[in-house]
Each structure stands twice: as structure tokens, then as C-alpha cells.
Amino acid sequence: MEVIRAKNLVKTYNENEIEVHAVQHIDLSIEEGEFTAIVGPSGCGKTTLLNILGGIDEPTSGEVFIDGKEITKLNDNELIDFRLNNIGYVFQAYNLIPVLTAYENTEFIMLLQDWPKEKREKRAIELLEKVGLKDKLDSRPGKLSGGQQQRVAVARALASKPKFVLADEPTANLDSTATTQLLDIMYRLNQEENITFVFATHDQRVMDRAKRIIRLDDGKIIDDKKMD
């Protein structure tokens, strides 16, 4: 089943009156359960494409459909609500709320969705257990290592039961052990729970695990390959 559909996406920035074509006429379809890596050199448009697919950024032209719904027509507040209920994010710099504990960070999304307390509590603990942080429920981000913070970010991204998770360079700030642990968790979630993951990365370790690799250069897809 198709989760993401991008049609003729174009993103052009005007920097100092010079046009920069970050994304050029991209057509893309991502199916449920994919473990896809968008790869390419720095500045090739990976993050821009990911942001557009996730409704954080808007394309200059083109359309994005999530589960058949065109998100490029939504206004700011509709987009926020759409993101809340449909998309999970994992950022390069973890970006957890520093004043909340690991448990509270995970619970936060469900609170925004008005889940009842018992359900929130059960799911937050369950997710933190899945990412191996059950013993860190009450730790604030400042007390966690980079790898642990990123695992909390994964738990947070999954908390609202999104249709897919977008991860922008999730391993860029992690050492190899933390990277392996994180990828193991994501891969397991993908395999066991059929959660769709789309990565923007240039980390070979991520590419090694990916089931599909979309290669970008100068804002264009130059290769789209399913791995065995």
C-alpha cells in the first residue's frame, strides 16, 4: 500500500537573488513497511526532500500525497495537525524537549493527541522498553548520552502510531556502537511491526540496512534501487 506519493516536486530557493534548485522534478512513491534511505552528497537536497515529504517545508511546485491526502494544499495549522497524527520525526540533533524526562518526551505527542492517561502511560513505557530505555524513564535529555537521546526520539516518533517515520541523518552525531544499537531498534520495529522508515543519510551503516536506496544528486533522483 502506497503511503507517500510525490509528484513532480520542485523546490527552489532564492539566496542573494541567486536561484538554488534544491529539488528538481522528483516523482516518488513509498510503500508501507519500507526501510528506505535517501542518500547523496551534502547539499544534494536530501533534507529538503524529507522536509517536503513530512510537510515541514512546502515545495515551490508539485504535490505530496500521504495516504491519498494531498498535504501540499493544507494551511499551517492543518499541516501541524496532520503531522501530529500521521508522521513521526527523528532529527539529527535529537531535539528532545530538554525540560521533560524521557518518559514525558515520549508521552508528549500522545498528550497533544488527547490520549487518556492510562493509554499514554502504557504506550510510553512500552516504547521506551522497546528502545532499551526502561531504566531511564525519569532522566532528562541532559542526563542521557547521544545514543540514548536518539532512542528516546525514536520512541517519541512512534508514540502517536504514525503512518511513517522520517529520520534526518539520525546517526550523524552518534558513535558506532550507538549507531548500531539505534539501527537495530529501527530495523526490528520495521521488521516486526511493519513500521515505514524513510532516512536522509550519507551514513554507510544506514545504507547497509536499507531495503531501498534512493540516490540524489543536484536535487534529482539519479538512482532508485531496491536491495535484496
Binding site: N51, I56, I80, L84, F91, P98, V99, L100, L112
Partner: protein, 404 residues
């Protein structure tokens, strides 16, 4: 959760939050103390005039105050005074015969209001005896004793036991002169008492005025919680031919001053709170801009603009909620302390007394002012939060996330 995040956020930059909290505390304190100080001026000034001079209520013959013509006495004034003394809410009643005249010493002369007083009741009503600064309250001199104010004594260059001559018209229109000897000199913050009145025994004055036992004025002092209007109305109903007036009618300038001082609270509030608005806006704006990335992430993961707005608003209100009670407490304790010991302004006493103010002030703040100030600070915080909160919701998640 928003409340929890907001509360924790204000303690992230402890020093900065404490600076804002401190400035709100100082602002609230300054508001209370400023108001207490002004009230001290005003309440002291009004109380002095009401307690020691005009009293809460005065009764006259309606014609008397037009020209102070001594023929316009209050019929059966003494009997009426005796009756009023029995009324509930009345603390004291004194009768006076009054005339305008000249007081002369060997060196100088001055125009005065000569007040023939009932010694015992005058002491109850105006506490004239307590204001004696030199000499005694009509003791020690048997024939025609007179009490005058300190400034008048200075002007006339007289001392205790000095002789002065009072000149005025009697009931027949003849000019009468009477020799009096200074028995006491009073000192008060009231300009009238210090400079413009001469107090003599009622019987001495009445004899010279040839008005028998008639009187011109009944001064009534009421219990503290009594509304003067009740007594005024009661008197007017029973004796419609006399004119009873409360201090508000007798000295409308006092009422005006009280209202003016009351509105000064709002002027002071406007000045202090406006300064606070800028301080809070500055701090909250810094907090928003510092957390640009975090706010972008919150919006990216699904926190809508309303909630982001609310979060910044709550953070700002928390600053006010933390600071206001402390400011109110500090202000209250300061007022409480100075209410007992007074603020000594004796260094400026000459200037103050020239305007009829006491040199020791007892600050006083009405209970309602604490509520007004609290509401004022909360509204200030609310207003101050609007711009930073607006800035926060206007952030574009994609730009905010990638900001440094």
C-alpha cells in the same frame, strides 16, 4: 503538560528569570510603598484637619457662614448639642461662638477668627489640649486667657503670659476690644490652627459679644466607622432650619485631594507597569529567540500554534505569579513597619508644615490596592507576553529547526 513545560522553562535560565522576578518584586513594592506614602500624606493631612479643626460635622445657622455675622446664632444651640451627644455613633460634640476680629500685640496685629470654646468638650472634639506646645490649656490665668497658634505667636512676637488685645464687633455693631493674656501656644500641622485661630473661653467671648449663651457652631465628631451622612440627615430632619454639613461639604478641597491622590495610584501604576512591560517583553523575547529551534521542533512534531502561544503566555504569567506575592508581602511588611514607626521627614518639616503636612508620615495602603496591584501586574504580564508569543508562533518549523 503545557503548564509543566512552562514552569520548567522559566527555571532554565534561572538568572534571567530571577532578574525579571526581582524587577516585578521591586515594581510591586514601589507601587505599594508609593501609594502608602501618598496616602500617608493625604490621610495624615485630612485626619489632622478633620480631627483637629473642622470635625466630621458642623452645624450653623444657615445665614451665619455668609458673612460670619454674629447675630445668626443657632437657636437653643446648647440644648441641641446635649441632645446630639446622646446619639449613637457620636463621639463628641462641642459648641463654639465665633467672630472675626483683630489680634494685636504691642508689636504687631493680625486678622484672626476668634473662637469661644467649651473647654471640656473642645478637648474631646478637636483634642486642642493635646496640641499645647507651650503653656497650659486655659490653666493658670484666671481672667481672659487665650490660646493661640505657634506661628501667630511668632508673628505677634508674644510669649506665654504676654498680653494681646482682641478687637471685633459686638451684637450691636459696636467695636469692642478685650485684653487677653496668652495662656497656651498650640502647634499643629494645620495652618488654620497655627496661624488663623484664637481660642478663648466661650463665656468670655459671649460676654464681649453680648450674645448671652448663644452659640454659632456645633462641631460633631463621629465614631470611626460611622457615615457622617447618617448623622447629617438625622439632624436635618429634626432641625430643618439649621444647616448641618459633613466635612466633605465643609472642605470639598479635601475630598478633591483624596480623589486626586487616589488617581495618583493609577498614574504610578501606569509608569511602573509600563517599565515592567518592556523588561518582561525583553526577557521573553530572548527566551523565545534562544529556543527558536526547540519551538520549531515542537511545531514540527505537532504542537499547534495555539498551544505554543499558550505556553509562552503561561511562562510569562508564571513570572508574575511567582513575583507578585513576594512583592506584595515585602510591600505589606514595609508598610506595616512604617505604619508603626512612621517615616520621619523632619529634615523637610518646615516646607511640609508650610503646606499643612505633618513631618512624620504614617504610610497606609487600602486592602483593595493589593488586589488592584495584583491584577495590574497580571495584566502587564499578559500584555508583555503577547509579542514574544506572537513571534514564537510565526516561526517556520523548517527555518527554526535548522537555526543555530
Amino acid at each position: 503538560m503545557l503548564v509543566k513545560i512552562a514552569w520548567r522553562n522559566i527555571w532554565r535560565s534561572r538568572a534571567r528569570s530571577l532578574v525579571v522576578i526581582g524587577s516585578i518584586i521591586v515594581g510591586v513594592w514601589a507601587l505599594l510603598f508609593g501609594n502608602g506614602f501618598m496616602n500617608g500624606f493625604m490621610v495624615g493631612y485630612s485626619a489632622d484637619i478633620i480631627q483637629h479643626d473642622i470635625s466630621n460635622i458642623q452645624v450653623h445657622n444657615p445665614e451665619f457662614k455668609k458673612d460670619y455675622d454674629i447675630v445668626f446664632t443657632i437657636p437653643n444651640g446648647d440644648e441641641k448639642a446635649n441632645e446630639i451627644r446622646q446619639w449613637e455613633g457620636v463621639k463628641g460634640v462641642s459648641t463654639r461662638s465665633i467672630t472675626q476680629g483683630m489680634i494685636s500685640s504691642p508689636q504687631k496685629a493680625a486678622g484672626v477668627q476668634i473662637r469661644g470654646i467649651d473647654l471640656e468638650n473642645e478637648a474631646i472634639v478637636t483634642q486642642l489640649d493635646s496640641m499645647i506646645n507651650e503653656g497650659t490649656y486655659f490653666e493658670g490665668i484666671k481672667r481672659n486667657p487665650i490660646v493661640i497658634g505657634s506661628k501667630l505667636a511668632r508673628n505677634l512676637k508674644v510669649k506665654i503670659r504676654s498680653k494681646v488685645v482682641l478687637t471685633f464687633n459686638d451684637a450691636n455693631g459696636d467695636i469692642i476690644a478685650g485684653a487677653f493674656r496668652v495662656v497656651g501656644i498650640v502647634k499643629s500641622s494645620s495652618i488654620s490652627i497655627n496661624e488663623m485661630y484664637a481660642f478663648v473661653r466661650q463665656e468670655d467671648l459671649n460676654k464681649l459679644l453680648a450674645i448671652g449663651s448663644e452659640i454659632h457652631e456645633i462641631a460633631i465628631v463621629t465614631e470611626e466607622q460611622i457615615d457622617e451622612a447618617l448623622i447629617v440627615n438625622k439632624y436635618s430632619e429634626i432641625y430643618p432650619d439649621d444647616k448641618a454639613e459633613s466635612w466633605k461639604e465643609l472642605a470639598p478641597e479635601l475630598l478633591f485631594m483624596q480623589e486626586m491622590y487616589g488617581s495618583m495610584l493609577y498614574v504610578l501604576m501606569a509608569i511602573i507597569l509600563t517599565a515592567l512591560v518592556f523588561g518582561i517583553v525583553n526577557t521573553m523575547l530572548m527566551a523565545v529567540l534562544e529556543r527558536k529551534k526547540e519551538l520549531g521542533v515542537l511545531m514540527a512534531i505537532g504542537m499547534n500554534q495555539k498551544k505554543v502561544y499558550l505556553m509562552i503566555l503561561i511562562e510569562t504569567l508564571f513570572l508574575a505569579f511567582v513575583a507578585s506575592p513576594i512583592g506584595l508581602l515585602v510591600g505589606y511588611l514595609t508598610i506595616l513597619y512604617y505604619r508603626y514607626v512612621g517615616v520621619d521627614l523632619s529634615n523637610y518639616s518646615e516646607g511640609l508644615e508650610a503646606f499643612g503636612y505633618s513631618s512624620i508620615l504614617y504610610p497606609y495602603v487600602d486592602g483593595s490596592v493589593y488586589i488592584i496591584v495584583t491584577i495590574g501586574v497580571i495584566i502587564t504580564a499578559f500584555i508583555a507576553a503577547l509579542y514574544p508569543a506572537w513571534k514564537a508562533v510565526k516561526l517556520k518549523p523548517v527555518d527554526a529547526i535548522h537555526s543555530i
